[in-house]
């Protein structure tokens, strides 16, 4: 008679056999004493292991361990240092003394652990600085039943939240039971400690409401100050404007367009500050440009004022009367003119200063310039290298003013 192999006996013991093999093994065990002895010995091993190892876990301790893991994971996600936890006082059976020890998962603190001794848990209060990180040690439930003779380990039930809070005021800050860190429902967590708020780092630290209000006030103050300074004290102002070329319907516009397409620097008329009117393109300035306002120049000599008055009067006819093709804008009076030598040659690059408002432009290759300015009495000064400057006072109305300057040699 063939005995059962170890694998057959093991499978029979584990109820892994079905059908005919199971019946054959059972019949063989009923008749074979040797196999039955082995079977009984294996059953004894299994029963002993089940009796010894098949205990019920301490749900209270498991809950605390799980809570610690959750706290540690949450702290890690928030960038906080790993919290320290005090060992739960686990009730021991058979009158064994309760043990307090520290976990090895986290670095031990420099100071001696208050839980190293074995005082009553109510006395061993954590230091106030660590009160938020360290969950309070709950005393062992007094209702822990003694182990029954049948070795059914009765796990102590966790204390209710109200009872624990009455004994330990620290638990009042514990989040309500049944809610995990993400708000999901879960079993009560008696060992929860409230995590401190993660400190903000970097740019996030500047996003506090107080800092945001301070930043807004600072920006507003700077904006107001700049505006006030520009208006009152004439702080040089950088203006960038873009304009498109106008229609090329007249000869003067064609001439301007020709000047604009050439690479040489053309006359760039200045624009009044601040208003929408200055942004409108004059036909003489088809390119985008950057204009820097310069301080006004007062007339240095009296002579040009007198001598310039006559030609100014002579050429102060409205441009529309002489060149009706140029569109006139009543709200943007313009001083235009030509700068030539005594021989009638156009002077290119001559500096044209307007006193008030302060403007400075250069003449183009045809010696022409245009300055847009408010109506009134304006002083224009023309300078060119190697030539005597000319200053002229013009009375500008609401129309375009055409004038001509003649610069003589310096000597």
């Amino acid at each position: 008679m063939n005995h059962l192999t170890s694998i057959q006996l093991c499978a029979f013991l584990d109820d892994a056999l079905v059908g005919a093999p199971d019946d054959q093994s059972a019949r063989h065990l009923a008749t074979c004493a040797a196999c039955r002895v082995r079977y009984e010995a294996w059953c004894h091993v299994d029963d002993s292991l089940r009796e010894l190892l098949g205990q019920v876990p301490d749900e209270h301790a498991l809950e605390q361990r799980t809570s610690w893991v959750e706290i540690a994971v949450t702290a890690e996600r928030k960038g906080l240092p790993a919290p320290e936890f005090a060992e739960l006082r686990i009730p021991r059976t058979h009158g064994a003394a309760s043990q307090h020890s520290r976990l090895h998962f986290f670095p031990a603190p420099a100071a001696p652990a208050p839980f190293a001794q074995a005082p009553p848990p109510a006395v061993a209060q954590p230091s106030p600085s660590r009160a938020l990180l360290r969950p309070p040690v709950l005393p062992a439930p007094s209702t822990t039943p003694a182990p029954a003779p049948g070795r059914t380990y009765a796990a102590p039930q966790p204390a209710t939240r109200e009872q624990a809070a009455a004994r330990h005021p620290q638990l009042a800050a514990v989040p309500p039971p049944g809610t995990s860190a993400s708000g999901q429902a879960g079993p009560p967590a008696p060992g929860y400690a409230r995590l401190p708020r993660a400190p903000r780092k970097g740019f996030a630290a500047l996003l506090s409401p107080r800092m945001a209000w301070l930043a807004i006030l600072l920006v507003a103050a700077v904006a107001v100050g700049l505006r006030f300074g520009v208006q009152k004290f004439g702080i040089p102002e950088l203006k960038i404007h873009f304009r498109t070329p106008g229609k090329q319907g007249t000869e003067s516009q064609k001439a301007v367009a020709d000047a604009a397409t050439e690479p040489e620097p053309a006359a760039k008329p200045a624009r009044p500050r601040g208003g929408a009117s200055h942004a409108s393109a004059t036909p003489e300035d088809p390119d985008a440009s950057i204009l820097f306002d310069l301080p006004a120049l007062e007339p240095e000599d009296e002579e040009p004022a007198r001598s310039a008055s006559e030609p100014a009067k002579k050429h102060t006819a409205p441009a529309a009367a002489r060149d009706p093709g140029i569109p006139q804008r009543s709200d943007t009076p313009t001083i235009c003119g030509e700068v030539r030598t005594a021989q009638g040659v156009p002077i290119e690059g001559a500096r044209v200063y307007l006193s008030s408002p302060a403007r400075m432009v250069h003449t183009d290759r045809k010696g022409r310039f245009c300055i847009t300015c408010p109506p009134g009495q304006r002083t224009v000064r023309i300078e060119s290298a190697g030539r005597a400057p000319v200053t002229r006072v013009l009375q500008l109305g609401r129309e375009r003013l055409e004038t001509r300057f003649t610069l003589d040699a310096a000597n």
């Binding site: 892994a16 004894h44 002993s48 010894l52 098949g54 876990p57 498991l62 610690w68 021991r92 999901q184």
Partner: protein, 179 residues
């Protein structure tokens, strides 16, 4: 003891979904996963350490390691076999370092949480002398009553190998008990 003997340890259930959510930063899903198998994990850790307190520490360590290394969880699989392997790995490492393990200290009633009779002591000492892998395998087979197929999945071995190994372990324990 297995709370639900009919449930297979290898059935993924909602584990992949929760694991995916946890990997995306959902702490609630992560905590649900960690709480789901802590009882089964404790039984495994208790079989590996033969000490209730060490078992709880090992559960803590295993859950913490699992939370940090959740990305290494095989896609679409149940979390419990992975947790068990993780616990066995940690227990083996602790035993090798001599800081913990079933054979680090003599068996005591206090550590086990129950008195040990003279009849049971040889069995338990023989069980404690087994390597961690064999102890885990026998505990899963005897105490948790996990089918051979699931044991093969957990241990990543063939079913025949698992059956042979369990039989050999039982025979060895019976032999040492008789001696």
């Amino acid at each position: 003891m297995n709370a639900n003997p009919n449930r297979s340890w290898t059935e993924p259930g909602r584990d992949p979904e929760l694991a995916l959510a946890a990997q995306r930063g959902d702490l609630g899903a992560l905590f649900t996963l960690l709480r789901k198998y802590r009882r089964e994990l404790w039984h495994v850790c208790f079989a590996l350490t033969l000490d209730r307190q060490r078992a709880e520490r090992l559960v803590h360590d295993t859950l913490l390691r699992a939370a940090k290394n959740l990305r290494s969880l095989p896609t679409g699989s149940s979390m419990l076999p992975w947790l068990v392997r993780l616990a066995a790995h940690l227990a083996t490492a602790a035993a090798r370092s001599g800081t913990a393990g079933a054979g680090a200290e003599p068996l005591s009633n206090e550590a086990l949480g129950t008195p040990i009779t003279e009849v049971e002591r040889p069995v338990l000492e023989a069980f404690a002398s087994l390597p961690e892998g064999e102890r885990l395998l026998l505990a899963l087979d005897t105490i948790e009553r996990i089918p051979y197929g699931d044991l093969a999945v957990i241990a990543k071995r063939e079913v025949a190998v698992i059956m042979n190994q369990v039989a050999l372990i039982r025979a060895r324990l019976a032999r040492e008990e008789a001696a």
